[in-house]
């Protein structure tokens, strides 16, 4: 029996499930778990003889076939050549708004995060944007973000084909209903119940009393994460890969 599935491995596996069916997924900077999830889907599809998945990892030489520079990702998105992307967020609110800039008042935010990156654009154009925030807490999942880097919903005068698809944390998985502009609790991870999620989520959402548990990866998938995926991650995320369970 191998070491039990870690919280991070469960999130990597869940990301691969959320990506099912995509042809092209891109992963931004500083996103080791989304990168791992995308690589896992590619490996699983390859193993099972399913459709090839194009994975574009920004910052990678090996796992990135763009030849047009960093702007090619954005051009791909605008043309509909990109099916999925990930956004983090220091704060995420119940309307799907994302804040990557900081807490308090702009511009002299007492806590400043790196910045909005490509979020204000990709959120409009990529059909499946997966919100990923490891920390599930009242300070990360808030009623209303202090700064809108990228809005969750838009009126019909603005071109929009993309937006939030799901929100994944270390404790739970939510889906997003774009019509209603609200999250729905889909499952809680092992070790968490719906009351834990209610107590640590700062916004209202549907299906509060959800009893579904997020499924764990099987042994074969887990060994794929600990073998091939861990090796593929090393190029861009040596520290993260080094901290993952695995041989050697």
């Amino acid at each position: 029996m191998s070491e039990a599935c870690t919280s991070r491995e469960l999130m990597i596996y869940t990301i691969s499930r959320l990506l099912k069916g995509v042809r092209h997924v891109a992963v931004g900077q500083s996103s080791p778990m989304p990168a791992a999830g995308a690589m896992l889907l590619r490996a699983l599809n390859q193993r099972d003889g399913l459709e090839h998945v194009q994975v574009s990892i920004l910052g990678s030489v090996k796992h990135n076939s763009f030849t047009g520079g960093a702007e090619e990702l954005f051009d791909c998105a605008a043309q509909g050549r990109l099916d999925a992307f990930f956004l983090g967020g220091g704060q995420i609110d119940g309307r799907g708004n994302v804040n990557l800039v900081g807490t308090g008042d702009y511009p002299n935010n007492p806590v400043r995060w790196p910045g909005s990156f490509g979020s204000a654009y990709l959120y409009f154009l990529v059909p499946r944007v997966i919100l990923f925030r490891e920390e599930h807490s009242l300070r990360s999942l808030v009623e209303r973000v202090d700064f809108v880097s990228a809005p969750g919903v838009t009126d019909e005068t603005v071109y929009r084909r993309g937006g939030p698809h799901a929100l994944l944390t270390n404790a739970a998985l939510f889906s997003f209903d774009r019509e209603a502009g609200r999250f729905r609790l889909e499952s809680t991870h092992p070790g968490y119940g719906w009351r834990d999620i209610r107590g640590t989520t700062g916004f209202s959402y549907d299906n509060e009393q959800c009893e579904v548990t997020t499924p764990l990866p099987d042994e074969a998938t887990l060994s794929l994460i600990r073998g091939r995926i861990r090796e593929e991650l090393r190029e861009c995320y040596p520290q993260f890969a080094g901290n993952m369970p695995g041989p050697g």
Binding site: T67, E71, F74, G102, P107, G115, V158
Partner: protein, 268 residues
């Protein structure tokens, strides 16, 4: 004509107060030359990150060299947040122009094409837009029902970056790093540090030529081996993660930052 100069001479050629375009860490950042800018006490820069900044930008801010910062993000990657940047935001010592990556590229593309602005999708409803007086919402001239953002052209006075190789004619190989090519096209001048200088023209090899920035854009070249260190140089060497961690720890305090930069100065 491209001038071939020493790195110190190049640092002297970049004036205080200029609009300086910089490439991202690990792609084509030039921290080696940036350290020399800090040594010579450069001030009042308007830094344009194309489209994000990292350690070299954080060092410039820590050294008090930046008046205005135009960027989509500043981060040290796996080493975490950029300490001098966060401090400068809190105490209001830099003027911030927060952006989103493709809007920076759109602004540079406008400058490249010599037009005053460029339309771009998305962004409407974002507070990033609210804070920018040089971005506007207009209607699509071909469809009044649609709103669209336009961003004004971004033309840096000088683009500064590090590349694997130049030839003695001033052509510079960038390979796939075409956002750096865009930055050079958009800027009035490009100053480039390189790992090595080729005696044969980089344009002679058709397989390479499309990834070469022609000398017509390149004002000066200086050979500076490991000029991308401790960040990486795309497809040449990875970042030195330990050194960047060391910087991240030191720069948590202004005193630690000063000690780190002085240490580099005496080692160079």
């Amino acid at each position: 004509m491209t001038d071939f100069v020493t790195p110190r001479e190049m640092a002297e050629m970049i004036p205080s107060g200029c609009k300086l375009g910089l490439a991202p860490d690990d792609y084509a950042a030039a921290p080696g030359l940036v350290r020399m800018l800090i040594d010579r006490g450069i001030r009042d820069l308007h830094v344009v990150c194309a489209p994000i900044g990292g350690m070299q930008v954080d060092m410039l801010i820590g050294a008090g060299a930046v008046a205005t910062l135009e960027t989509s993000a500043v981060s040290l990657g796996e080493a975490g947040g950029a300490p001098c940047f966060s401090r400068a935001v809190r105490d209001g010592s830099i003027r911030l122009r927060d952006a989103t990556c493709p809007a920076v590229f759109a602004g540079l593309t406008a400058a490249e094409k010599g037009v005053p602005f460029m339309p771009i999708r998305g962004i409407i409803g974002s507070d990033v837009l609210e804070k920018r007086d040089d971005w506007k919402v207009t209607s699509n001239p071909f469809d009044d029902a649609e709103k669209i953002v336009v961003v004004s052209a971004i033309q840096p006075d000088i683009a500064l970056f590090h590349a694997p190789e130049a030839d003695r004619f001033g052509n510079v190989r960038l390979g796939r790093r075409r956002e750096t090519m865009l930055l050079a096209h958009a800027s009035k001048k490009a100053f480039v540090t390189v790992e090595r200088i080729s005696e044969v023209s980089l344009l002679d090899d058709e397989k390479m030529a499309a990834g070469v920035l022609p000398a017509i854009y390149v004002s000066a070249v200086a050979q500076l081996e490991k000029g991308g260190w401790p960040t990486g140089l795309y497809a040449e060497y990875p970042r030195d993660g330990q050194e960047i961690e060391k910087y991240a720890r030191a720069a948590r305090s202004p005193e630690g930052f000063q000690a780190y930069v002085r240490g580099l100065g005496s080692a160079a």
